[in-house]
């Protein structure tokens, strides 16, 4: 499962970040394997999603959220 499938207020542990040109961007924002991630808000019509990681709120598009693989 990926972070794009989380439901509101649901949290999970990040397993890995999918390989892409922007993998490095995840790391530098502190989105690292082993961290807990929780879905806070979703913008309507498939818009961006706001996650909480380490008490920081980070907004990602669905496309980016799909790259965050979660431990089941």
């Amino acid at each position: 499962m990926t972070a794009a499938r989380l439901s509101l207020q649901q949290s999970a542990i990040i397993e890995s970040i999918g390989e892409s040109d922007i993998s490095i961007n995840f790391l530098e924002l502190g989105i690292l394997p082993g961290k807990e991630i929780k879905l806070l808000k979703k913008a309507p019509f498939g818009g961006p999603m706001a996650f909480i990681i380490d008490e920081n709120i980070i907004a990602l598009r669905q496309h980016e959220a799909l790259m965050i693989k979660l431990k089941s």
Binding site: D21, L27, K41, A43, F45, N56, L60
Partner: protein, 706 residues
């Protein structure tokens, strides 16, 4: 004994993550002693502040906020360039601002700077918030394990700023042992070779260049090729090693923080999350956003008009004063009719620019601006725009200039360019006087289903602007090619009260940039336009002047104003711009315009609202130009001399409005587009395409209604 080391002012680069209070600290240290310049080849502003501490002076370079030194945006390239002294003078020291609540993430950047070998110190900011969150930072532990001097601060409440000053005065910067060994991520021999070729003293600089080289325009093509060949021959995989290096860095940082930071469980209500339940609400979130935008729109549109009127009256008064007090002559004319109104034409935009940027600084300072991006991204994306394009577009409804300047926040180059190119199609306030006159002439003042037909006409013009802005963006989305992928990864920072000092400084510095950078171009074009409108081929103008004087001599004084008006019109006709207006008549004939309107189109290039003034002069309306009713009544009676038909009939009026809706007729906008894209290619292309579309649309409109 005193040693004579006094000539060199030491430079300190300030760097830190976004939202870490970096600008707050920078502003506290430097106050108004700031200079804004350019880095060659990029749009990032170079802000340098000056600090005097006792006998010593320092230049503080404010580097853009970034999470790391990785090559993704111009901001990061600049940070990399400055810290390595590539094309820029290398600073003597670095001051890295860390977030006390996010030490892990801030230290990613902090230790990268450390590994570059530049002597540095850490400022751990927002200690007040950390205390509230139950985070205790053992400063000495941190110093022991990293070897970097550090200061704990709460810059908002001015706590610890003196400690930073003291640290700077004592030059307590150190360059400790690197956190990571670069040789673990690239072949030692490769690192050695890069260090040799570029004269680096530090292996991490070489590693960074291997990762960066491709992205930095400051690196010559030959060097780039050399880097690429070397990487290939050593089997250096840039992306893979970069990820590996970052992960290793995080592991080391986590190890250090385990002993340097103690976390206590603190039960606290999270205000930010409660506020986000309202501000990010799928319905109320948009309602609130709309309300805020309306407020900003109201401010740029209505409130700004008050100081703008003062400026207008003030400069008109100054021109009048010059006429009264200077000897009559060409120089006085140039000063009173060319230069002074030209400067006035620049200064008049300051209230709008200052207000928009004041609001933006407040929205950014409170943390709300990131929420706007979150809400609007989905709506803007199909048009090739970004959530961040909303603010420039909306401000474009008041004035395109501050809007285009605000597009700088968009990090994706393509989305930023599209935003800059389409913003002038939003219906700005300068079009309003033109619409009002023309709608008054062509749309009957009757009710349709309870609503004034003229109001509907105005609404249609605004909607037409919005529609073409979005369509234009959509077309550009397919035309412009980019390797850069669009993504949205943005932190939604905690809500805080805005810093008023930062707000005022932003308003001041944005206005200053506009006046000094775009102002030069605007002033030169207005002078050229003035010369073209005041002078004509020798002989013709003099003949008219002599004729007028002869006539004045033979008429009673009461009738002089009427004669003056009619000769002002004749002179404009005989001037170079009048000749140009006549020359373009064949081209604008198909749109339903005569040469008189042609002249107004040309002078409108100074600013669209000049249309009204020019039309007033050319039809020698005289009297109070501000009074639209006089102009309207006069234009109503205007007929074609050959056919006897009304000049401003429906077809011509509609066609003119459509032309003004689409044509690029604002030199100030062009100057700002040049300044923001650093190239004449885009403003020229913008002029050609916008005016081309305007011509075509006006032609079609004229055909339909005639």
């Amino acid at each position: 004994m005193e040693t004579a080391i006094f000539t060199h002012i030491k430079t300190i680069a300030i760097i830190g993550n976004p939202n870490v209070g970096k600008s707050s600290i920078f502003n506290q240290l430097t106050g108004l002693n700031q200079k804004i310049g350019n880095y060659p080849g990029v749009t990032v502003d170079k802000t340098v502040g000056f600090v005097r501490l006792g006998e010593k002076s320092f230049d503080l370079i404010d580097l853009p906020g970034t999470y790391s030194l990785y090559p993704k945006s111009e901001d990061e390239v600049i940070a990399h360039r400055v810290l390595n002294g590539i094309g820029e003078e290398k600073p003597d020291f670095a001051l890295v601002i860390l977030d006390a609540c996010n030490l892990e993430r801030s230290l990613l950047l902090g230790t990268q700077v450390m590994d570059l070998g530049i002597p540095l110190a850490f400022v751990v900011n927002m200690k007040d918030l950390a205390i509230k969150k139950g985070i205790e930072i053992k400063a000495f532990e941190l110093y022991k394990s990293l070897g970097v001097p550090l200061v704990l601060t709460d810059a908002r409440n001015n706590e610890g700023i003196d400690a930073i000053r003291q640290l700077m005065a004592d030059e307590k910067f150190e360059s400790p042992k690197p956190l990571l060994d670069s040789n673990a991520y690239a072949d030692a021999a490769l690192i050695e070779e890069v260090m040799g070729r570029f004269g680096f003293k530090n292996p991490y600089q070489a590693f960074q260049l291997l990762v960066f080289g491709e992205f930095d325009k400051a690196i010559s093509q030959r060097d780039k090729q050399w880097l690429e060949e070397k990487s290939a021959s050593y089997g250096f995989d840039r992306k893979k090693q970069q990820l590996k290096e970052t992960e290793a860095r995080y592991v080391k940082i986590a190890g250090i923080l385990k002993s340097a930071v103690v976390r206590k469980k603190v039960e606290s209500r999270n205000i930010t999350i409660s506020l986000d339940n309202i501000f990010l609400h799928p319905v109320f979130g948009f309602v609130i956003f709309l309300a805020i935008m309306l407020l900003i729109f109201q401010a740029i549109f209505a409130w700004a008009s008050i100081p703008m009127d003062w400026i207008d009256v003030g400069f008109a008064g100054l021109s009048g004063w010059i006429y009264d007090n200077f000897p009559a002559g060409v120089l006085t004319d140039l000063l009173a009719e060319g230069i002074v109104p030209g400067i006035g034409g620049v200064v008049i935009f300051i209230p709008q620019i200052a207000m928009l940027f004041g609001f933006l600084a407040i929205l950014e300072g409170t943390g709300y601006l990131s929420r706007v991006v979150f809400l609007m991204d989905r709506l803007m994306r199909p048009f090739g725009l970004h959530g961040k394009s909303v603010v420039p577009l909306i401000s474009g409804m008041a004035c395109a200039i501050p809007g285009i300047m605000a597009a700088r926040n968009i990090s994706n180059a393509k989305e930023r360019l599209i935003t800059i190119l389409v913003t002038p199609w939003m219906s700005c306030s300068a079009r309003l006087p033109v619409y009002i006159i023309l709608i008054g002439l062509t749309v009957p003042d009757t009710l349709w289903m309870g609503v004034g037909l003229q109001a509907i006409g105005l609404l249609i013009m605004y909607l037409l602007g919005v529609l073409f802005t979005l369509l234009g963006a959509l077309v550009l989305k397919f035309i412009l090619k980019t390797k850069e992928k669009s993504y949205l990864m943005t932190e939604l920072p905690i809500y805080r009260l805005p810093r008023w000092k930062t707000v005022l400084l932003t308003m001041f510095s944005k206005s200053k940039i506009f006046v000094f950078e775009a102002g030069k171009i605007i002033l030169s074009i207005s002078i050229v336009l003035w010369v073209l409108a005041s002078y004509g081929p020798t002989g013709r103008m003099d003949a008219i002047e002599n004729e007028k004087i002869a006539l004045l001599e033979n008429t009673p004084e009461e009738e002089w104003p009427i004669i003056e008006e009619s000769y002002a019109s004749k002179k404009l006709e005989a001037s170079f711009i009048g000749i140009m207006g006549k020359a373009i008549e064949p081209a604008i004939r198909p749109l339903g315009y005569d040469w008189k309107i042609g002249i107004a189109l040309l002078t409108s290039f100074a600013a669209r609202e000049v249309f009204v003034g020019t039309i007033a002069t050319i039809y020698s309306i005289g009297g109070d130009v501000e009074n639209e009713l006089t102009i309207r009544e006069k234009l109503e009676k205007e007929v074609h001399p050959d056919t006897g038909e009304k000049v401003f009939d429906k077809a011509t009026g509609f066609s003119l409005m459509v032309f003004y809706a689409f044509a690029m007729q604002c030199m100030s906008t062009l100057a700002v587009v040049y300044r923001e894209t650093k190239s004449w290619k885009w403003p020229v292309l913008q002029t050609v395409v916008m005016t081309g579309v305007a011509y075509l649309a006006a032609f079609i409109t004229y055909r339909i209604f005639s």
